[in-house]
Subunit: 354 residues, 2 copies
């Protein structure tokens, strides 16, 4: 094992800290469902003749969908479950240490699917995007410039087709995706209200992200009444991040030809069975469209997205809040914290800063 | 009171049998929630200076949505509740006896919103369509050539956007709408399976309407397993007429980019609260669209619909089955029968045949 001045050097063998899933999870995930281990060494080079890429991981993204992969079976096969005793995977930012692929060269910064470990051999580098803009924080590529950003952008613009003056409701509004949907909605001249789970988050929505209003859903006994208070005329667009009771209340408040873009249902991932939604008949009364979408369907439009969002970041017209956990050791706790809403803003884990 | 040879004569005063709602209904409607009364006489002429139309009702349509109007409150205001002690209303076929409206003249045959009574004064004749084609059974204008026909046509073609070879599932498939959706799907080269609630209906689906297959949902313990049997590759299009448990099972079987057109949820109208739907997260996995629609949004395209469907009827390429109840006295029983699935095909009430 050898390192030179902290710099990963191609060809040497180093230790490789990993976060592994101990076994499949039922109910809410706990920190000790995962374990930080130092079992294996890794040689910092790609196997001869392979088109893989070997990367040093810098920032890892904590995303709610990762809970789904901790179950042994998934209802559809767009993802595969994690393998117990193996490192979990997710989106991250990394630096190329060795490359068997002409698209990537040593020293390139990339983001995409990687492992929760110090170094990863990415055997399918098609899942990696090269990072071109480095005048923004690199961690942004786990958030505003990565899948949460694209999720917010394509979910809002493509699935919801917003029009100026429409009334937009966003749940989990201070999260990785929600904070952006709200800001996009304001850019389009919409009225936008968000819900979140603490006073601090609600304050952020109003003061930092420019939502017209916000409320703490944990303090509302009757979500239907809360929505009627903020949307006396009803909701045109609901950006759905949580599911369950909130969706049921929203259905009672949708306006004619309203649209619900379903990004995820984080409140339901730890429940078996999930909460039943009873007000679906309202989509007939209101001719409402509910549409599920998946961000990777839009990956081929990544540059279009960047062209839109990067100037807004540079000009300070869009802001982004991250919740940074330092070190792979703190990864499991950060990931689990998503499900109690402990994070404020996008939850990132820093593995290394270069 | 005077009648000449059974012919309604403009200007005379006649008795007017009516079906009234006794009081608001909770749970399943019963025949005695309604009453057939002969309380009032009606003068067969429109008030001087009004633009109303006075019609003699011939055929009345029994539709599941009518149950919703028997509740005191409706979640959205696209309809108004019935008024207790007044005749219920619905779609029907009628003959104009007197008219203050230049669009309609005495003797015209019309269909549209009318009362459950022998004669109705239609104060807003904009809800009436003039009947042009009389070489088909007049009762068809309560079904295949009326709102159920348009519901099937626009719901299937506009909301579902079918493609040749796609797999289509229709619930309540032998009903007023379902039997047509299945036939339209076959015209488009789709594979189509229907569910219904009796052996007789299932046989009809296979033999008369040309569905590729059909099953009796009442004999299936596990709807998910039943759907997997008929759709091993999954469902591209679900034409939703029933809601509840069936929808929940369908959600487990939707293919990527599947579409669910929600016409109604007849299994839920008598339940308070309705059954909870728990599998909505599947619309994210499959990027599925669920869309409610209302037929009256398509009323301005009625002639386009007729141009499509009338030739198919004349050529015998589309068939239609009706369940005829004779006489207004049998109206309440016919209407209530919808909710136990007693009707086979479109339920019609004949008030008079000319």
């Amino acid at each position: 094992m050898e390192k030179r001045g902290g710099e990963a050097v191609e060809g040497v063998t180093v230790s490789n800290k990993q976060v592994i899933l101990r076994e499949y999870v039922s109910g809410f995930p706990r920190e000790d469902d995962m374990e930080v281990v130092l079992r294996k060494e890794i040689k910092l080079e790609v196997p001869r003749g392979s088109s893989a890429v070997l990367v040093k991981n810098l920032y890892l993204s904590c995303d709610p969908y990762m809970r789904l992969l901790m179950s042994p079976t998934l209802p559809n096969s767009i993802f595969s479950s994690y393998a117990p005793c193996s490192p979990i995977t997710g989106y991250g930012v990394a630096k190329v240490v060795d490359s068997g692929n002409p698209e990537f060269k040593v020293g390139d910064l990339v983001w995409g699917t990687t492992g929760w470990e110090e170094y990863s051999l990415v055997t399918d580098p098609q899942g990696l995007f090269k990072i071109e803009h480095t005048d923004v924080p690199l961690s942004y590529y786990t958030g505003i410039l990565g899948t949460p950003g694209m999720t917010a952008y394509f979910g809002f613009y493509e699935v919801c087709s917003p029009k100026k003056g429409e009334c937009v409701f966003v749940s989990a509004a201070s999260g990785a995706v929600g904070q952006l949907v709200g800001q996009f909605a304001k850019l389009e001249g919409c009225y936008v209200v968000g819900s979140a789970g603490s006073k601090e988050k609600v304050d952020l929505l109003r003061s930092k992200f420019g939502f017209d209003d916000a409320f703490n859903y944990k303090e509302e006994r009757n979500l239907d009444a809360a929505l009627k208070r903020y949307f006396p005329q009803g909701i045109d667009i609901y950006f759905e991040n949580v599911g369950g009771k909130m969706l049921d209340a929203v259905l009672l408040n949708m306006r004619t030809r309203g649209r619900i873009a379903v990004c995820g249902m984080v409140s339901q991932y730890n429940l078996d069975p999930p909460e039943g939604v009873t007000n679906l008949m309202n989509i007939v009364y209101g001719r409402v469209r509910i549409e599920g979408f998946a961000v990777f369907d839009y990956f081929d439009q990544y540059s279009k997205f960047l062209d839109f969002v990067v100037p807004h970041i540079r000009e300070g017209k869009i802001v982004y809040i991250e919740d940074i956990a330092e070190g792979l050791e703190n990864g499991p706790s950060a990931l689990v914290g998503l499900f109690s809403g402990r994070n404020v803003g996008k939850q990132v884990v820093v593995v290394a800063r270069e």
